[in-house]
Structure formats: structure tokens, C-alpha cells
Symmetry: C4
Subunit: 296 residues, 4 copies
């Protein structure tokens, strides 16, 4: 068996990374949208808003565990974009990453729809709608609250994604908190949890163009129809554009408030306690590790 | 005392492993089914669906802590089967593992029934039923939701167990995430938590033939009668067969999407940062450790 | 300031340990009973049963963090007793430990009563009762559910405390799971959480004679009167006696199912991966560490 | 980009620390008050009291992660004060720390008001009030429960802050629990969680003058008017003064019950197991590390 599998080995680094990103986002959406499906179709009996927050948070954690050793686990076009702007990721790879992130989200939405097929039929009476009392499109992608203006939605997504990047960059900044790489997926999940708890009610904290657009595309094809693009005053483009702006804003804030002011590596390593550094060998390896850890 | 205990020492490795698997599943079911009993008999006053999710998740965590040093903590016939197929566990041991896993679940169900005897009597009025308003069989084993077709149930269990194996294999893949062994029980518990949150409402996420069949056998003997096998259009065989299929599917997906494409150990160890590797002595020992850690 | 404090230094090891046990149980009860007070006096508006579970779980975690470096953080007469029976703790110290554990619980109950004085007055209308619609004695110590027989209560407490010891011993067994000492307080807290979730509804999972008797004594003195000893068919002695029996039973099960069968240290250290052992210097020091870690 | 950012580098240590404290408190309040806003404006539909507890707890965790490498992450004037009294922080820096902590809280309150602008308008009908059925001032700062007397409120805040300091000092006392620095932010967050669960209902567990006064000042300016200072019998000064008293009390209790009695470093290092110490180089570096870790 092991030998049979070995025959399928792919050595191309980009293909491996794209497959890892695809699987990572797949896991994220499978657990995230799955938890929404469970809450919606059981009418809050087997879950509540907190379980949706936990579903996306742990979805991110396991999405990162599945992919980080291969691709660095961006799982989010807005994160990939920020890393490109910071010069920590290649611009050439960006479109491939984005495509496979969206693909993973699309496939996961299809899987959730398959797993909850009977439940959605029973709940909605077979009528797949985007709005109304038995609407089920919200299982897959985000829609704004009734009171929210478009500008309010943009502000909401920009602040949310900026907060996400602030946390992610702090967790990956080895001169600030120096967290072991195996804890980072858990803590990134915790960041998504707290954002869902504190910024989820306005428009469902997409924070991620792939997380929102992939499943939306699926619902468009699978029977919910063009309403998925029309609802909420054509809300669909906000969770694509605003997270990119927010990610750049959050990056800028963290860089300007904390990261750029760190003393250079040399002076730092003399002042800091030796335990954090003792197992680092040289500057090149340090760089490799920083590269591998920051993208999370 | 210590000396008295020493006299009982058993040196046979297989017996030790079987006892550890038995105790591990016992702990898992004791906490898992216990939390269902608490929610059912208090009519959601001292717990809710989330506490059932937490009960099974932490049940898995402590089940793994209790047994992993001895048997590798499969705690699930579907996991044991997958590891045999992957060549990481001996086929000869498989029937012993399965028997003691089911035995542990049976004994734990008996313990829960003993601990909640007064509560179940008070809640059900002394009438042990599988369906109806005061049904209590669902404390011990899983039954499908009313709307669920048999095919829907099979799909549900296959997807759920595949997701479990995907997470477990990613956590144990030391070339992907390289998690310290003492954190793996916690993270496997977190995987069970998120599956319960996102895939629990259709049919109670058994994901494990022993977890479902052991307690079902207990209820059959202890007074719930043959309804436990008839209910849900003879649902009982689905959580036995479908998890095995799902476990193999999840294994295949992870292997084909991530694990087989890792560069071989030698080329890897040059590229990666030294801190992850520095304390490994040689290839044989590495192998031993991988063997001990992956099965979780 | 630092110098002023230094003058108060006590060098007697037993006094230091007793103070640490007292403070540890104080923290446990302060958070645990505090969370019950919050749920009761707000009528579930600012908390629910899960928050009580979390309160006791994190109370244990921080109680252990506060005291483990000094006394090993038993925090429970039943745990101290088991360790004496296993030969891992001195019988001479046992009465001192128990007295200071009960004292810590008593003082913490007084603190909770002080902090919630206005809330308890407002909730109960100034009438401190043990039973009835505005009973408040349950904030401090445990009372059985109406349906529970005395035998049912004894069984409940025996099983619960046995499960606790099973988990605690597995966490401390460095030949099984080898968990870093700084994670053990968190995982012991998780064990208390899952027991509260799965075994809390029958009689409030005291599991600890000091946790129950100290606050009960406080309520007796502070105005709830002799009802605190009469209620529940004189329930008060069950959470004192049954946890001791349960702790010994749990110890026996873990020892007989797992711990005594471990191969001896020497043969083990050859088979296991070197990373777990590399930082141990010799057998004596190993012993010291085992001694310090197991009692948790 | 990286190079552009480098031009903005500030080398002054005090400015860097103030910016880090400001950003840390900003993150704390952004998540904390954000979670209250979500619960209030959705009328408990997308959150409940527990999610507020989690919001502040994880807000503290990420606030600490963002700032601890630079400033030690006090994030609380009462903590800064205690550390000055203990001689572990400079008195000269104290006013700067406090000013930037309050500033961070003020700016975060403004951000929450911006993000929840539409939601607050819809919930309150555009009428920003401090009391009454659609009061929204409680999103930003704390107000006492109706039943609470001023003395009761002072006692509540003193006990709560003392409990916080007890936990924080125990977590940072490397001769007691010796927790790796990267786990401390998570455990400090857990301490805030359990305090919110067990001491939150009387007056909202401010425990932090900056957390309460910064947002209160914002609400005063932003339209809630002078009621924010008058409500609750002029409650506003209690969460400023009482936490300072409580912090000193908690520090005193931990020092007198545990820390001052530790044997001196030399005798300790012989008795303890070598694994905790092996990577420390000398006394000066030890000192540096203690300095950096305790303030958390």
C-alpha cells in the first residue's frame, strides 16, 4: 500500500503547495459551513452562535495543520496578498494560490450540501432560498444584517480583517512573542474565534475572499440561483474587496507600531535570554524558519 | 503497596496493549455517554448540545492520555483498520484490539447506566424506551434524525470519519506539522469537538464502530430490548460499516494530497530548520518515534 | 519593598506546604463557588451550568499553578490519602494537609459570601435557606438531586472521584504520556471540566472532602443553620467518605490496568525515543522529578 | 516595502514601549467591548454572557501577544503600579504607561463605535442612553448591578483584581510553576476568563482603570453625555481606585503566602530537576528573563 502510494508522488513544489492550500481551505470550510448548517437546520437545538464561532476557529486550526508544512497555510487570498506586498511571498505564485483556495472552498461547500442534503430538504421544504424564514444560503456564504449599510459593511470587513492580520503577524513575529510553530495553528484559530465573538454579528465575518466566494459560487450553481449575488444590495463583492484592504491596513499597523522598531537581530540576541535562541544555528536558517512561520 | 502491585505485573505486550485499549475506550465512553445522560435526564438544564460535544472531545483526549504510551491509543476499530492497511499496525493484532475496544465501550455503558440509574428511572418513569418523548437509548448509542435516509446516514458517517482521519493523520505527520507527542491527545480531542459541532446533528457522529456497538449491545441486554437494533430502519449497522469506509477514504485523501509528496527524509532535513531535528539521534529511532506517534 | 517582604521568609518546609495547600484550595473555591454564586443570583442570565463547570475547572488549574511548586498541589484530602497509600506522600503530613485544605475552602467560601453579599440579599430577600425556590446554600456546598437515593449518591461520588484519579494518574505517569509539568495544571483542570460535564447533575461532583466540608461549615456558621447538615437525608457525609473510597478505587484501576505493567526504567529508556529523556541527568534526579510531578 | 517601513524605525525604548502598551490595550478593548456590542445589539441572539467572558479573555491574550516582547504587556495601570511597588518596574515610566494604556482603550472604544454604528443606531433607535431598556453605554464601560451598594462595588473590584494579580504572579513565578513565556499570554487570558465567569455579575469586572476610564471618556464625548459619570451613584471612580488597591492586596497575599518563602536560587537549583534550568546561562541572564516574564 505504502509503495503503491509512493508511485503517485509529485515533486513539483508549486503543485504540492496548491494541493495543500486547496485541502487546507477545504477543511476550514467543511467544519465552518458544516457548523452553520447544523445550527440552521436544527433551529439552534444542536448548536448556537458560539458553536459556529468554534466551527470556523477549529476549521482554521485544522486547515493550517493540514497544509502549513507544505504551503505555509495562507488559506486566504487577503493573507497571500499581504505577504506578497511585504515581500515574504512570490507574486508569481499568487494567482495559483488564490485559484486553489477558491476551489477548496467550492468543493467543501459541495460536501456540506451533500452531507446536509436531507436536513436542508427537511428544513426548507425543498425550497432553496436566500432570504425568508427558511433561507439556507447563509449556510454557505455571508449576508449582511438588515440594518447594515454598504459602507457599514465595508468598514466592518476592513476592521475585522485588519484585526486578524494584527494577531497573525504578532503570533508570527519571533522577535516579539516567539511561539513554537506547532502552537501557531491553535492560536490563529483562537484569533478567528475572538473575531467571530466580537465582530460576527454585522455581516458574518467572512474576512476571506475565498471563504465567501467559493461557497457563493456553489450555491449559485446548485439551485439557490442568482439571488445569492443580488441579496443585501449586491453584497457579494464586499467580502472580496474589503478583506484585501483590511489585511493591508492591519499589516501596516502592526509593522509601524511594533515590528519595524525591533532592534536588529544582532543587538537583540545579546540582550534577550539565551533559551529562545540557543537552538538557532545561523542567519540563513533563521531566515528559512521565519519564512515558514510568518505566513500562517 | 507499591510492592504488592508489582506482583501483578504483566509483561506480555499484547495483553498490555489490549488492557490499555480497553481502558482508553472505557474513559472515552464514560465521559462521552455520561455527558449525554446528564443532558437528557436534566432536560438540557445542566448541559446542552455543546456539552455533549465537549464530553466526547475530552473523553477522547483522556482516553488517549490513558493508553497511548502502551498501545498507541487507536480507541477505534476504523482507525486500527486504516493503520493496518497503511502497514503501520499488525493485522494479527487487529481482532484483539477490536474486541477489547468493544469491551471497554460495553463496560463504560454499564457504568454510566449505574451512575445514572436513579436519574434514568426518574426521567423515564422506569420505562426504558428507544423512541418516544422519554427515550433514553440515545444516551448510549446513536440513532439517526427522523429526516435522514439510510443513504444520507451512510454519507454522513463516511464524510465524518474521513474528516477525523484527515485531522489525525495531519497531526501525526511529523514532516508536516511536527507536534510534540504530549499535545496530540488534546488536538485529537479538538478534532472530535469540531466534528461534533459541524457534523453531529444528522446521526450523532459515532465515527467509531466500538463506540456505537458496545453500548448498543449493553442497552439490548439491560432492558431496552431488540428495539435498539430495529430503530431507525435498522440503523445499527451503519455506524459499524460506514466509519470503516470513511477512515480508509480519509487516509487515502491525506496520503494523496499531502503525505506521499513530502521529499524524502534526507533532502527534507537539509532544508528544514534544525530546531525540529536536533534532538533526533538516528533514522531507526526516528522510525520508532514516528511509529509511536502516528497511530494516535 | 522586596527587602521588607524578605524579612517574612519562612524556611520550614511543612509550614510552606500547608500555606500553599491553603492558598491553592482558596483559589479553587473562590473561582468555583463564585461561578455558582453568579449563576444562582443572576438566575442564569450571566452564566449557565457550563460556566460553573468552567469555574471549577479553571479554579483547579489556577489552584494548582499557585501551589504545585511548593506542595505538589494535592488540593484534595482524597488525593493526599491516595498518595499516602501509594507510598508517594508522608502519612505524618496528611492531617496537616487536610486541615489547611479545609481551612482554605472555608476562607474562600467566606470571601464569596462577602463579594456576593448584596447579590445574595437581593436574590433571597435576606432569607438564607437551604431548600426552596430561593435557596442559596447550594452556592457553597453540594446537595443531591431530588431523585437521588443515598446509595445512588455514594455510587455517583465513588465513580466520579475514581475517574478523576484515573485521569490525574495518567497525566502524571511519565512512562505513559510524559507531559511537561507546566501543562499538567491545565489538563487536570480539563479533567475536572469533563467530569462536571458528564457527572455533575446527580449531586454536584464534589469529589473532594475539603471542597464540600469547608464551605458547608461556613454556611452553618454564617446563617444557613443546621439545615446544611440535615438536607438531602443528611447528605453532608457522602462527599467526605465516598471520594476517599473513589480515589483509592481509581488509583487501583490505573495501577492494575496500566502503570505496574510498564517495563522497568532501564529497558524502557532503550526502546523509547531519546528526546524525552535527553535532559534527565540521573536516576536520583529522575526520582525527584517524578515525585514532584505525580502528586498533581 | 520592507525598506520603506525600515525608514520609520524608532529606536527610543520608551516610545516603543508606549506604542506597544497602546496597541496591546487597543486589541484588548477592541475584542472585549466588541463582544459586548455583539451581545447587546443582537439581544443575545449572536452571543451570550459567556461570549463576553471569552471576548475579554482572548482580548487579553492577544493584547499580551502583541506587546509583551516590547513592553512586558502590563495593559493595566493597576498592574504597572504593583510592579513599581515590587521594584520590578521603573516609577519614572509609570505615567507614560498609564497615559498610553488609557489612550489605547479610548481609540479602541471609538473603533467599536464605528464598527457597530449601524447596529447601535438600529438597536437604540438612535437614542444613546446610559440606563433604560435600550441602554448602550454598557457596551463600553462598566456599570454596577441595581442591587449593588458602593461599598459592595469596592469590595467586588478589590477581590477581583486581587484574584487577577494572584494568578498573574503565580504564572510568572519561575520558582513555582516555570511556564514557558509563550504560554503565559494564554494562561493570563484564562485567568481573566475565570474571573469573568465567577466575579462578573456584580459590576462587570473592570479590574483595570484604563479598560474602564478610556471607553467611558469616549462615551462622554461621543454622545452619551455626562450620565456616564453620574450613573450608578457616580460609579466611575470605583473601577479606577479599587483595582489599584486590589492589585496591591493580591500582590501582598501571593508574596507572603508563597513567593518570599522560596529558598534562594542557589539552594533551589540543587534540589530541583535539571531540565528546568539546563538552558539558563548565568545569574544576570536569569535576571533579565525574570524581569521580562514576571510583568505579564
Amino acid at each position: 500500500m505504502e509503495r503503491l502510494l509512493k508511485k503517485c508522488q509529485i515533486r513539483n513544489q508549486l503543485i504540492r503547495e496548491c494541493m495543500a492550500e486547496c485541502l487546507g481551505v477545504y477543511v476550514l470550510i467543511l467544519f465552518g459551513c458544516g457548523s452553520v448548517a447544523q445550527v440552521v437546520t436544527t433551529e439552534d437545538k444542536k448548536g448556537q452562535y458560539l458553536s459556529i464561532n468554534l466551527g470556523f476557529a477549529l476549521g482554521v486550526t485544522f486547515g493550517v495543520f493540514v497544509s502549513r508544512g507544505v504551503s505555509g497555510a495562507h488559506l486566504n487570498p487577503a493573507v497571500s496578498l499581504s505577504l506578497c506586498v511585504l515581500g515574504r511571498h512570490s507574486w508569481v505564485k499568487l494567482p495559483f494560490y488564490i485559484f486553489f483556495q477558491v476551489l477548496g472552498a467550492f468543493l467543501a461547500a459541495a460536501t456540506v450540501a451533500l452531507q446536509y442534503y436531507d436536513a436542508i430538504q427537511a428544513y426548507s421544504g425543498g425550497d432553496l432560498t436566500v432570504t425568508g424564514p427558511t433561507a439556507t444560503a447563509g449556510i454557505f456564504s455571508t449576508y449582511p444584517a438588515d440594518y447594515l449599510s454598504v459602507w457599514g459593511g465595508i468598514v466592518d470587513q476592513v476592521i475585522g480583517t485588519a484585526a486578524l492580520l494584527l494577531c497573525v503577524l504578532a503570533l508570527g513575529d519571533h522577535r516579539n512573542s516567539s511561539i513554537p510553530h506547532y502552537l501557531q495553528p491553535v492560536l490563529v484559530g483562537a484569533a478567528v474565534l475572538v473575531i467571530g465573538i466580537s465582530m460576527g454579528s454585522n455581516s458574518g465575518y467572512a474576512l476571506n475572499p475565498a471563504r465567501d466566494f467559493g461557497p457563493r459560487l456553489f450555491t449559485y450553481i446548485a439551485g439557490w440561483g442568482s439571488d445569492v449575488f443580488k441579496a443585501g444590495s449586491s453584497w457579494w463583492w464586499v467580502p472580496i474587496v474589503a478583506p484585501c484592504v483590511g489585511a493591508l491596513l492591519g499589516t501596516l499597523i502592526y509593522e509601524l507600531m511594533v515590528e519595524v522598531h525591533h532592534p536588529s537581530e544582532q543587538s537583540q540576541s545579546q540582550a534577550s535570554c539565551p533559551e529562545d535562541r540557543s537552538d538557532k544555528v545561523g542567519v540563513e536558517l533563521e531566515g528559512v524558519e521565519a519564512d515558514r512561520e510568518k505566513p500562517t
